[in-house]
């Protein structure tokens, strides 16, 4: 920028006054091209982000809004429910993400197998859950998980398992969330892995086969290292997604029972839109952003450092 301006100034100083400069020049065309996106970013991202920062330093709403400095953040640190939400989110993260990604990888390997028939149909089936709308999803799981008349308890009953109170017990409610999340997002990750698998050059496998490597050896020595960047991507995306977990507890458990499935995003929503405590909700949002950013950086450092 500075360079450009100096050069322009120099031209002007050179004494060649240009009366009609064209509106679109070679120099400004890249800026014009990104302008729509930039305006959108400013209006719908930058402004809310900055406004939320200001709101997080205030309390009240509308005409009654007052500046309170860091009060909301102090309150946050001392709020047992916030720590409960953080703990719940961490628990779900640690249990659910590895299970889901492992499942997705297995699915992707299956879908990629040349022995598989009706491949398109299977792929569609695996991906379908990620397209399901929130409300349909919620209704479906409340039917599946119902204690007395639910599908899951009926199936378990066939194997002699007693009816599980999926939504009424803190432990099982968390498991229910893990099941729902896994159902919803495994297919999405499987499709990403599938794309990754297909971009691995066939020659590598052929060469390995010629050298006498078995299927297991080929998987660990070729597939996994080749998929590494994609594995990393899905770990980061899933971690961020789980940290922001909202839909599943919102539609299935409502955060209960006794706050056992309360997540940070759900707590944020409750404060903002149920208690109209927008300042506090904004503070939670900023805390969540910091946590997400921290985790993202950490994972990149730990796993992607070699690149």
């Amino acid at each position: 920028m500075t360079l450009t301006m100096t050069r322009e100034a120099a031209t002007k100083g050179g004494g060649s006054p240009r009366s009609h400069r064209p509106l679109i020049t070679k120099r400004n065309i890249p800026y014009l091209l990104i302008l729509p996106a930039l305006l959108g970013f400013v209006a719908f991202k930058a402004y809310p982000i900055l406004a939320a920062l200001y709101i997080s330093l205030t309390t009240g709403a509308g005409a009654a809004r007052t500046f309170v400095g860091l009060d909301n953040y102090v309150r946050l640190v001392n709020d047992p429910l916030f720590w409960t939400a953080l703990w719940n989110t961490a628990l779900i993260l640690v249990v659910q993400v590895p299970i889901m990604l492992l499942l997705a990888l297995v699915l992707a390997l299956g879908l990629n197998s040349p022995l598989l028939r009706l491949r398109g149909l299977w792929r569609l089936g695996v991906f379908m859950p990620s397209l399901t709308g929130l409300v349909a999803y919620g209704v479906m799981f409340s039917v599946i998980l119902s204690k007395d008349s639910g599908l899951l308890n009926w199936v378990l009953g066939i194997f002699g398992v007693d009816a599980i109170d999926w939504l009424g017990s803190p432990f099982w409610a968390r498991i229910a969330i893990v099941i729902a999340l896994t159902w919803h997002y495994t297919g999405y990750n499987a499709v990403i892995y599938l794309a990754g698998l297909q971009s691995i050059p066939k020659e590598l496998y052929e060469a390995a086969m010629v050298d006498g490597a078995g299927a297991v050896r080929r998987f660990w020595s070729i597939t996994v290292p080749q998929l590494r960047p994609i594995l990393l991507l899905t770990v980061v995306l899933s971690t961020i997604g789980t940290l922001q977990l909202f839909d599943e507890p919102f539609v299935i458990t409502g955060g209960g029972p006794d706050n056992s499935t309360l997540t940070i995003s759900l707590y944020l929503y409750e404060n903002g839109f149920r208690y109209f405590d927008f300042g506090y909700a904004a503070a939670i949002a900023y805390a969540l952003t910091l946590i997400v950013a921290g985790f993202g950086l950490l994972q990149l450092k730990l796993t992607g450092g070699k690149k």
């Binding site: 509308g62 204690k147 009424g168 929503y269 839109f273 149920r274």
Partner: protein, 436 residues
């Protein structure tokens, strides 16, 4: 269980859309009739729409447009309108008492002070306990009482008979617990049902009515937290006693409560006046089996009445036709014959005391075995309920109290200790004082 405060289904995006689509309610008038809009929900809105026609005939220069916004959608819509400085709000707003103090406190000027329009003269016209709740801290009157729902004790007379229990002899909840044990033994039915884990929705009307019978609530009139007060612990202890006696059914899960009612597994429904029409609609085949009486008291000789909830009509602080709007409210809510027409068309139990002399309130109800069912509620209101102060932090208090009830019912937690923690938490979250 019916929960008026259902899940607020709107997401952030929805809220913003609403904010964007608001606006444009008001048009500059140029001599023609003034149009006022009313925001309400079904079926109450049907009653209001019916009398709006009569009102228009008597006042040709005012047109009334009753809009069905729906409950709970109306709360988000009012919130968004008020946050936008009153833009796009209806002139008249139908507001539940659990939301009214939030709007009054959080959006000063959002609702008009009806005292200035002449509401003061109706101070004693409504059921006792309502007027203090529509009066703000500044002495302004922010809504006119429309609907009142006093608590009832609907019971299955056939099951009571089978267990050899005389309902009239149940005077305290301790009596009811003894009766409940007998019922369980002889008929297998539970005394009451509660959504113990609060899965799906919170189920706090029963606990609240036990508080209200003692003239207590989560907050006192000064707005201090009273969630750990003696009456609060007393009420929770009663619920724990019932639960420990094995006479509280768990109604969590889709349709569980209805199933239990159909199969005669619930002997008592501690529901409010609206259930006098809801139970006959829901279980027509159980005609003649149900009776209703006032609920027993918490302490011997104590108060048996409580107002579970009430709804009101308020005027937007930014409405350009406040005088006309008030004229309609006055017409609809303060004349016995008009409010009774609203009651007949919209099924909303009137708050206006003068309305109760209408024969409909003492007529025998066939469904309830020829008992004058509505008279029970009129008697309750005549006895007089205490005012309930919801405060602007009711939503938070409700959630925290519900968590406490879940802990007591599902983990056997100690009521006093649980409520002490809950009250602390409520005070910390709201910046309010614990009442001494």
């Amino acid at each position: 269980m019916i929960n008026r405060r259902g899940v607020l289904a709107l997401t952030l995006a929805g809220t913003l859309t609403l904010a964007a689509c608001g606006g444009g309610g008001e048009k500059a008038e140029s001599g023609g009739p003034v149009k006022i809009t009313v925001w309400s929900w079904k079926p109450a809105s049907d009653g209001l729409a019916a009398v709006a026609k009569d009102f228009e005939r008597a006042n040709p220069n005012i047109k009334v447009d009753v809009q069905v916004i729906g409950n709970p959608a109306i709360w988000e819509k009012i919130t968004v309108g008020m946050a936008a400085g009153g833009k796009g709000l209806g002139d008249i707003l139908h507001i539940g008492i659990d939301y009214l103090p939030s709007y009054v406190d959080k959006f000063p000027g959002g609702l008009a002070d009806l005292n200035k329009l002449g509401a003061g003269k109706y101070k004693d016209a409504f059921a006792k306990g309502l007027w203090p709740t529509v009066t703000g801290k500044d002495g302004g009157v922010y809504a006119m009482p429309w609907e009142v729902n006093p608590i009832g004790f609907f019971y299955r007379s056939d099951l009571f008979e089978k267990a050899g229990i005389d309902a009239a002899a149940i005077r305290t909840w301790d009596d009811a617990i003894e009766a409940g044990k007998k019922l369980k033994e002889k008929t297998g039915a539970s005394l009451i049902g509660l959504n113990k884990p609060a899965a799906g929705s919170m189920d706090m009307d029963f606990y609240q009515s036990l508080l209200q019978q003692q003239g207590a609530f989560y907050f006192n009139q000064q707005g201090d937290v009273t969630l750990s007060s003696a009456p609060a612990v007393q009420a929770m202890t009663l619920i724990k006693k019932m639960n420990d006696a094995g006479i509280v059914a768990d109604t969590s899960g889709e349709g569980t409560a209805k199933k239990l009612i159909s199969s005669g597994k619930l002997a008592v429904l501690p529901w409010a006046a609206w259930a006098a029409s809801y139970i006959p609609e829901m279980r027509p085949e159980q005609k003649g089996l149900w009776r209703v009486m006032q609920p027993p008291a918490v302490t011997p000789g104590g108060k048996r009445t409580a107002i579970v909830n009430s709804t009101h009509l308020a005027i937007s602080g930014t409405s350009k036709h406040q005088a006309e709007a008030f004229k309609f409210i006055e017409y609809a809510l303060t004349k016995p014959e008009v409010i009774n027409k609203v009651f007949k068309e919209g099924g909303v139990f009137p708050a206006l005391t003068a309305a109760y002399s209408d024969p409909v309130f003492s007529a025998p109800t066939e469904y309830f075995g020829g008992q004058p069912a509505l008279k029970t509620f009129v008697d309750s209101l005549t006895e007089g309920a205490d005012a309930t102060f919801y405060s602007s932090d009711y939503a938070r208090a409700l959630k925290i109290a519900s968590d406490a009830q879940t802990q007591v019912l599902t983990k056997g937690a100690d009521p006093a200790a649980t409520l002490a923690t809950a009250a602390q938490q409520l005070a910390q979250q709201t910046g309010r004082k614990l009442a001494g």
